[in-house]
């Protein structure tokens, strides 16, 4: 097996209230693999995601990204190498669609022509042809379109790792299904590993190679749909899967 892109080893993370949000959390993500972190609200899944690009730092244990300890990497540089997608896209409302998509390449100092070529290509991929959409502002787009721009922005600099926090959470069920289908089509063309946070187990099964079930800051089980369904590690996983895994 090749070296993991992202690896959590025995992570502990608490907040000032003293309660541990994550305890003994270990998980690794191979190249091109999609892993979903699933669990009820407050289970620590978003915290785990933010540890990867150093929006948060662990209290104990190590996070390794691209083979090096995250704690030893400059946060700003690290983040530019990792795609980041959040609910509703988290777009900059005062920038056009194109400016949003080109944000990271611009931070990295790409030439204008190169940036433009890349944003044209990406907007085409996410189904928002540049000719029609590049000059619009986020307020002129639907929720689903904003989400697509968010995905395009995350992929712009061809990051080997993409983090997605409830990327389709704000969409209506129909757009959500469409985006999930398209995600799978895009994913087949990317070279990126994806760590995806969702509270929706059905979505996790649909999109991810492996699913990690978290609850109360503890990782209960990681596995494929098969594994989680056939041999749940404990009562929580069994109930969670039977109730939400349809």
């Amino acid at each position: 097996m090749t070296a993991p892109i992202l690896e959590y080893s025995d992570i502990r993370k608490g907040f000032s209230s003293g309660r541990a949000v994550l305890e003994g959390f270990s998980l690794s993500l191979g190249p091109r693999e999609t892993v979903a972190l699933v669990g009820p609200s407050g289970c620590g899944k978003t915290t785990a995601l933010k540890l990867a690009n150093r929006l948060l730092d662990a209290d104990a244990g190590t996070v390794r990204v691209f083979g090096r300890a995250a704690a030893e990497q400059e946060p700003v540089e690290l983040r530019r190498k990792i795609g980041w997608v959040i609910q509703e896209g988290g777009l900059f409302p005062h920038w056009t669609v194109r400016e949003n998509v080109e944000a990271v390449p611009r931070l990295l100092g790409w030439e204008k022509g190169e940036r433009r070529k890349r944003s044209d290509e990406l907007l085409e991929t996410v189904g928002l042809p540049a000719g029609q959409y590049a000059d619009r502002r986020p307020s002129g787009l639907s929720g689903g379109q904003r989400q697509r721009v968010g995905v395009a922005r995350a992929l712009a600099a061809r990051p080997p790792l993409v983090l997605m926090d409830e990327p389709f959470g704000a969409l209506d069920p129909i757009s959500r299904r469409t985006m999930q289908r398209e995600f799978l089509a895009w994913k087949a063309r990317w070279d990126a590993a994806v760590l995806l946070v969702t509270h929706d187990l059905a979505e996790a099964f649909r999109l991810a190679d492996r699913v990690a079930v978290l609850e109360g800051g503890r990782l209960h089980q990681v596995g494929t749909r098969e594994e989680l369904t056939r041999s749940p590690a404990d009562a929580f996983v069994r109930e969670f899967v039977s109730e939400f895994g349809a």
Partner: protein, 212 residues
């Protein structure tokens, strides 16, 4: 009425010169207030606890009657004395509050999700400030500048009392000689100036405002 316009026309040279002085007082004071107020307002967003006391203090200063503040400043070394410098210091003091408050609230009201996105894609703090927070807060900041400038135009007429020049010179002279035409020769241009600044900055606000 024709009497008044003939009077104003006769004095046009002096009125224009004093209007020029007036504009300089307001422009210099506003520029300093923006140069100090905006960065301090931005910096305060990182320390909400400190912000409360700073904004509170600025509020208290604002409550000092303006003529008294001009008077208090005269004996102060370096910034005090008779003349334009003292007047500018006083105008800066009054302009700071609206600029500080609006910068602070403008930045604080930027959607936290947008700020997290800026951090998450790898902007440095400076890049986030300049490229995201300030542009999004700009309409609110500009509204503060607009209030500050309009208030300064009015306050600057009082500056004549401490020998700073400007249109207040005509007003004071008019009061001393009980000459309404002289008072109007100072007051009318000052009012026009205030309206013009208000209109100009309002237009700028619209121009730079949210293109959403």
């Amino acid at each position: 009425m024709s009497n008044l316009s003939a009077f104003l026309w006769e004095r046009r040279g002096e009125i224009l010169a004093l209007t020029g002085e007036h504009i300089v007082l307001v422009a210099v004071a506003s520029a300093i207030a923006v140069a100090v107020g905006v960065p301090v307002g931005v910096a305060l967003t990182r320390r909400p606890a400190l912000a409360k006391s700073v904004l509170g203090f600025a509020n208290v200063v604002q409550a000092i009657p303006s003529l008294a503040l001009f008077g208090f400043l005269i004996p102060v070394p370096l910034i005090g004395g008779i003349g334009a410098r003292t007047a500018i210091v006083a105008l800066v003091v009054y302009s700071l509050l609206p600029i500080l408050t609006n910068t602070y609230t403008g930045i604080r009201s930027v959607d936290p999700a947008v700020i997290e996105a800026a951090d998450g894609i790898g902007m440095t703090l400076g890049q986030r400030r300049r490229q995201v927070e300030l542009p999004l807060a700009l309409p609110v900041v500009l509204a503060g500048v607009r209030v500050a400038v309009v208030v300064s135009v009015g306050l600057a007429t009082i500056a004549a009392a401490i020998g700073a020049g400007g249109l207040g010179v005509l007003i004071y002279r008019g009061i001393a000689t009980v000459d309404h035409r002289l008072i109007l020769a100072g007051a009318l241009p000052a009012a026009v100036l205030a309206l013009a600044f208000d209109f100009g900055l309002g237009a700028l606000e619209k121009l730079l405002g949210p293109k959403r």
